[in-house]
């Protein structure tokens, strides 16, 4: 560390957080250098002056003044509702969703099946929800088609 770098760091000599290795380096230089020793002493005195800046003493009327100015009511948090508060609404939602999905599908599937399969030979009339016809049936169908 150069002499100037040492001088830049001298204000930190009073800091408790200064790493021990840096403190030793600074202290060794200050021991040997009259100019830096004088500057360190001035920093020490300056720090001492600043710590004597006016400090108000505890004052109960101050506390009372603050408390008198607090808004009413207190800043109480909105109570957190229990999770089961939402259960009835959730159940209703699920029920309505089920109705919307299942009812039209059931009715529509019956009508569409009847319409589409009505003109086909009996062996080909399989409902969509059942197993498809075997490869043999499909092969026969291919031969029958024009």
């Amino acid at each position: 560390m150069t002499h100037q770098e040492i001088q830049d760091q001298l204000s930190m000599l009073r800091d408790a957080e200064l790493p021990e290795a840096e403190r030793r380096t600074l202290s060794a230089h200050v021991e040997a250098c009259a100019e830096c020793r004088a500057l360190a002493e001035r920093w020490r005195l300056l720090g001492r002056v600043l710590t004597q800046a006016p400090r108000p003493e505890a004052d109960e009327p101050f506390v009372a003044s603050v408390m008198a100015r607090l808004p009413q009511p207190a800043v109480a948090r909105k109570p957190i509702r229990a999770p089961w508060h939402f259960m009835p609404k959730l159940a209703l939602g699920v029920a309505m969703l089920s109705l919307m999905v299942l009812v039209p599908r059931t009715n529509g599937a019956v009508g569409t099946e009847s319409l589409l399969l009505s003109g086909l030979p009996e062996e080909l009339q399989w409902p969509f929800v059942m197993e498809p016809p075997s490869a043999e049936v499909l092969g026969n169908l291919e031969e029958e088609l024009p």
Binding site: Q4, Q7, D8, L10, S11, M12, D15, A16, E17, E35, C36, A38, L39, E41, R42, W43, L45, L46, G47, R48, V49, L50, T51, Q52, A53, P54, R55, P56, E57, A58, D59, E60, F62, V63, S65, V66, M67, R69, L70, P71, Q72, P73, A74, V75, A76, R77
Partner: protein, 199 residues
């Protein structure tokens, strides 16, 4: 002895639960620090007490936003710093008085009273400290008051300023350079060199 930080959190929980009067415990515990910080920033005792009241009111109104990640005192200092800086910006009173003005007014007697071999009496030191702080730009004054007057650690400063410890070190170094420049008559010629901007 129980941890003050945990005690503070417990009081905060009670206030948020609707126990409004519990807030008095926090005011009582931190009033000297908040009023001291405001005094260091604003200098005028009555104005500082008004500001400190506003700080506690803001803290009360914003208490539900205190998440407990920082200590309550750091959180309070943050509110105090923001409030005082706002006041000073609105007031537009920048660098109203420098140490040069002090020296001009009081001459070499002021320096003589501050000689290392003859430490100033507390009252004189207090008055000088106020003048010295008033000579600093607001942001730097805030940091110097928090560190040198209020005695916050690097970690507490980092919490109050919402920055890293490394950033605190950098800002503190810069603020001290400015302090040294303002106090050059106090620190002597070597102080002038130290105070000439970042290197």
């Amino acid at each position: 002895m129980s941890d003050p930080s945990r005690q503070d959190h417990e009081v905060v929980r009670r206030v948020l639960g609707g126990d409004r009067d519990a807030f008095a415990e926090l005011v009582r515990a931190y009033q000297t620090r908040v009023r001291g910080y405001c005094r260091g920033m604003l200098r005028d005792a009555a104005e500082a007490d008004d500001a400190a009241q506003e700080v506690f009111l803001k803290a009360y109104q914003g208490l539900s936003r205190f998440r407990g990640e920082a200590s309550f005192s750091s959180w309070l200092y943050r509110i105090a710093a923001n409030h005082c800086l706002d006041l000073l910006r609105r007031r537009g009173r920048r660098r109203a008085e420098s140490l040069d003005a002090l020296l001009e007014a009081e001459g070499e007697q002021a320096l003589a009273r501050l000689a290392p071999e003859d430490p100033p009496a507390p009252a004189e030191a207090g008055a000088l400290a106020e003048r010295l702080l008033a000579a600093l730009p607001e942001e730097h004054r805030s940091l110097i008051v928090l560190r040198e007057v209020q005695g916050l650690s690097y970690e507490e400063l980092a919490q109050a300023l919402r920055c890293s410890v490394d950033a605190v070190k950098g800002r503190l170094k810069r603020s001290r350079q400015i302090l040294a420049r303002e106090a050059r008559h106090f620190l002597g010629q070597a102080g002038v060199q130290t105070g000439r901007g970042p290197r």
